[in-house]
Symmetry: C2
């Protein structure tokens, strides 16, 4: 199967499920449900759920889209949590981003109050979905994984340090913490959730979890580099935004060359962690996708 075909079919599968699991837009109170749907269907690449599917299909030993049906509550929960974090991060008092993926942010379109509540509602819906998993110990493991990823030890912690660091001099360890928590935690959870759904052995889970953390950090460093030397097409947003927002980046903290070398090493480490696993082609594609963005 072509990689593009894999991404396309899994994205379609996910998007149908997102539509089914979200409350209808017309359901009372409709403004809230419209806001949730607006942000969920705003053109996301669905990388986290696809990484989740790919990990699971590697573990079961073959690509079989029919085997993914029972995983849809988990895949949707991942995307709900991701989108909730974007809605809250874009708020005026946090990152103050008027646009997201070329469209008005949720709070610009629906007002701040509704945006805050839509984020809360997506977090809540994510957990509700996970309680629908039939096997109880898997359901509870999934809820543990996703709440840890969101918690003050995960995304919320990373976002807090990010805000408090704006306009301040920070060192590379703090920036690494922000990247690992803000981006890494949910990528890590996506792969751990696949392991939980498969009841994978602990050593496999640990390896894949480390793979995800390296991948997430590499992704952010490449983003930092592109913020300095990229263009709109490759970055998907205006370059130079982080510097303008007084946010530290890897390239301005340790220099462009060293940042590049760090990213390359992380990608090499990621590759090495999974190179001997069978059916690893889609995971390797994730590594390559990031490598190809490197200028």
């Amino acid at each position: 199967m072509l990689v593009q075909e894999y991404f396309k079919t899994r994205k379609n599968l996910l998007e149908k499920a997102l539509d089914i699991y979200l409350p209808p837009a017309k359901q009372y109170p409709s403004q809230l449900h419209e806001a949730m749907r607006y942000s969920i269907f705003s053109g996301g690449k669905r990388l986290r759920p696809i990484l989740f599917f790919a990990t699971y299909e590697m573990l079961i030993g073959r690509k079989n889209i029919n085997r993914l049906d029972r995983l849809l509550p988990i895949a949707c929960a991942i995307e709900f949590v991701h989108t909730a974090s974007l809605i809250h991060d874009d708020l005026p008092s946090i990152d103050d981003a008027p646009e997201r993926r070329g469209n008005p942010s949720c709070h610009v379109k629906f007002g701040e109050a509704t945006a805050i509540l839509a984020g809360d509602a997506l977090i809540t819906k994510a957990i509700e979905l996970l309680t629908e998993i039939k096997t109880r110990h898997i359901a509870l493991n999934c809820i543990r994984i996703i709440t840890r990823a969101m918690s003050t030890r995960g995304m919320i912690g990373g976002q807090t340090v990010d805000i408090l660091s704006t306009k301040k001099k920070i060192n590379i360890n703090t920036l690494r913490y922000i990247h690992l928590k803000k981006t890494g935690a949910l990528l890590q959870a996506s792969m751990e959730l696949a392991c939980a759904a498969f009841d994978a052995e602990e050593n496999i889970t640990i390896t894949l979890s480390n793979f995800a953390l390296n991948l997430g950090l590499a992704y952010q460093i490449v983003d930092d580099i592109l913020d300095e030397v990229g263009n709109f097409d490759i970055l998907g947003k205006e370059p130079g935004e982080d510097s303008r927002n007084n946010k530290a980046t890897y390239s301005n903290l340790i220099g462009l060359e060293k940042a590049k070398k760090t990213a390359e090493k992380l990608l090499r480490d990621s590759y090495n962690l999974i190179k001997n696993m069978k059916n690893n082609d889609i995971l390797i594609e994730f590594v390559n996708m990031i490598k190809e963005r490197l200028p």
Copy 2:
């Protein structure tokens, strides 16, 4: 046991557990953990966790504080969700409340960004705690109950309609919806959680759930009445606030006398639902506490 003694001992038990389950204030990132603790320890009456304890102790047939230890994750989860909703409701774009219980609101003290994230973190922590319950089906039932209470069919839905109704003419059904969802849903969940922890029969759960909804609605109507005719001492806040904020109240929609009669009927209905249950004295006290606030 004196009722006051019951409330005091259960409140103490709960507050010790809240302190244990919350991340230490000094833990990185400390500003976030300080904000969570600030709002949790800002003088709440802990009515919801106490209602939860009282329901459970009625179901097991005796008051025994030692039997409550295994319920502490649930009791704390209730208070975390309640506090998260207060933090988000107080935000400038929602109710714009600079004070809560006589102290600066979370966002006034720590900034809006941290307040938004502290609310998110408390929701997350609530769910994490519930995964610690040893018996799996009870853990999952509790998570289902609390996420339904928070969802767009519960508190978040009620809060959305409340915001959208401000400065608008609404009818009594809409106001009833707001009160039932904003206040009723979590009171209902508190009693349903006790039933879940006890593995109560369904008819008992339904009865107690209805008791809680009536109680919650009565509480809000009495609050509406006091907003018109009460004083600071009895209300715990300045009267007339709702009218000044252009919020509809029961008394201005159906008149003071009819509002009073509605509250009295709801309290009578509540009482009738539980009057034949054994060991119901603390639940009856909840009914009386609201009755006594009626002017």
